[in-house]
């Protein structure tokens, strides 16, 4: 037993993810999930069509400094005379990109490790588990900070650091799923007809392990976004030419008491994005009947 709230992975029941139509109806019925969906759609829209809908060049100091919100600048201008809305839109792109790419990377690495460990057992399992246990002893954010300490700052390093910090979560879930599935009859059946290890893992085990992994991935995206914002805020994140939400907040800190919009909007952007993903993740958890995932 560890201190973590997650249910030992062995208890997860294999379950194929089906019935997305039913999930759609569930979202429509659940107010939280609906709000999450709408909010997230707005942010995704802003990220995808950023350059098209952005009212101004995010780096152009063309305007008066510290203008309050107005028709010309719906969210005002910053301390260097740049349009805040345009900067937040670019920030959306970075945040979502970091969120999705880190989780994708963590998922591939973690699931691979977990499946290998669970499937082969023995020393492979032993080595992987020792590593996972080591990482499991620390909160993900602290691990990301440790990794940035040794990798250095910058967008790529931040993505690598955060995704490595998430690897253990995915590996643990995947391993648990594999352990419970590999004794199932259909796996044994596949083996007797001579399917290769890879084929068994890929075609028979993985598809049945997706539910908890999807839930973990969703939650992880929101924590990756928070993590990137925190690192950028601390000066350990991406570069100043890239206006990310954390960086915008850190740069406008000394102007907030004179210009509330510089403090409120970037923070709201982070919070609403994370909130919308959490809302959706919660609905997903109910829908897929996954009891817990790592919440920090």
């Amino acid at each position: 037993m560890t201190q973590h709230a997650s249910v030992p992975a062995e208890e997860f029941m294999p379950r194929r993810v089906t019935g997305w139509g039913r999930f759609g109806r569930l979202v429509m019925a659940d107010k939280k999930a609906l709000v999450g969906l709408v909010l997230l759609s707005i942010f995704v829209f802003a990220a995808v069509f950023g350059p098209l809908i952005s009212p101004h060049d995010p780096n152009d100091m063309a305007f008066d400094m510290i203008l309050g919100p107005s028709l010309a600048h719906p969210l005002g201008t910053d301390d260097l005379g740049r349009d805040l809305l345009s900067r937040l839109i670019v920030g959306t792109q970075v945040s979502l990109f970091v969120g999705i790419s880190t989780v994708a990377l963590a998922l591939v690495l973690g699931v691979t490790l977990g499946v290998l460990a669970g499937y082969f057992g023995g020393w492979v399992d032993h080595v992987v588990m020792r590593y996972i246990d080591l990482q499991w002893a620390f909160p993900n954010f602290i691990i990301a900070v440790y990794l940035v300490a040794v990798l250095g700052t910058g967008l790529v390093n931040v993505i690598v650091a955060i995704s490595l910090a998430f690897v253990d979560d995915f590996a643990r879930i995947a391993r648990g799923m594999v352990l419970s599935i590999k004794e199932e009859q259909y796996v044994a059946a596949a083996r007797t007809v001579g399917a290769s290890d890879f084929r068994i893992m890929w075609r028979h085990i993985l598809p049945n392990a997706t539910a908890p992994i999807i839930v973990q991935a969703t939650v992880s995206v929101s924590y990756a976004i928070l993590g990137e914002a925190s690192l950028s805020f601390l000066g350990l994140g991406v570069e100043a030419s890239t206006p990310t939400w954390g960086l915008i907040l850190s740069e406008s800190r000394s102007f907030i008491s004179r210009a509330w919009w510089l403090g409120i909007f970037p923070g709201l952007a982070i919070m609403l994005t994370v909130l919308s993903i959490n809302f959706l993740g919660d609905a997903l958890r109910d829908f897929l009947d996954v009891r817990e995932s790592r919440d920090y």
């Binding site: 037993m1 560890t2 201190q3 973590h4 709230a5 939280k32 246990d133 080591l134 002893a137 620390f138 909160p139 954010f141 602290i142 900070v145 440790y146 940035v148 300490a149 040794v150 990798l151 250095g152 929101s222 928070l226 914002a229 925190s230 805020f233 601390l234 000066g235 350990l236 954390g246 907040l249 800190r253 907030i256 008491s257 403090g263 970037p266 923070g267 982070i270 919070m271 609403l272 994370v274 909130l275 959490n278 809302f279 919660d282 919440d295 920090y296």
Partner: protein, 316 residues
Amino acid sequence: MYGYLLRRSLGAVIVMWAVATLVFFMLRIVPGDPFAAMLADAGDMEAVEALRRKFGLDQPMYVQYVKWFANALQGDFGTSIYGARVPVQQLLLEALPRTLSLASLSFVIALVIAVPAGLIAATRRNTAWDHGVTVFAFLGLSMPDFWLAILLIVFLAVNISWLPAIGYEPLSAGFWPWLSHLILPAIAVGTGFSAIIARMIRSSMLEVLKTDYMRVAQAKGLRQSALILRHALPNALIPVVTVIGIAFALLMSGAVVVENVFSIKGLGRLLIQGILNRDYPVVQGAILVVSAIFVLSNLLVDMLYSVIDPRIRYDT
């Protein structure tokens, strides 16, 4: 039980060793020379080399590692490579009470918010109260702690001057100076955590209220408030105890960020500043102590859990 304790302690030591070793080598592979910076004003390569020798950075890495490890075992983590070159253990000893003060107060604040919120949500299930708590919990989970910290500074400390905006005063300077400097940072750290606890109390209260013995107690005609506070809550808190480990993890990662916003030179600020300056000895020392806190709290929580919940035994 004792065998288990021994094994867990050994495991903890190994984790600490592994972390320290990993960090030691990884720090030395990355570029960035702190000595060049220190001597920017003097511009003397001879002096840079002299300092490298002094800090042993001219030796092969394994020699550095053995020396560092031998010293660390004796509690000597070297000195900061900047300025007065203060011994790292002195920095850590100064930082530790600051971080622990902040973490403890955050924990108290989190409980003060979470317990009533969780109770209300559970006992008035599906009312506006319950939904309010749920929304609060989601907001708390989603709100970046550094943003809350900035807002607290700007709107409570700067504009209204209720509380000091930054810094730390030791308890020896008086209770109020100590407390007043910690209230805002503790709120910033504690709020997110209280969201998790509130959700947890809510669901475990619901479980407890469903149990047979609660039904019996209810049938015996106990007053509702007594029932909740004296019988249900203690039972509902058992699973919450298990998350004290998570509590520490969360409070510590919160503190790392929030200390930097409030200029409190605790372990988090020490760590971040060390990273930014590539002050190896400080980064190493800070990581070791932060890691030790996690490993020890994990261990402690496991022990605590076995005491509280008799169903769990470690005899295997």
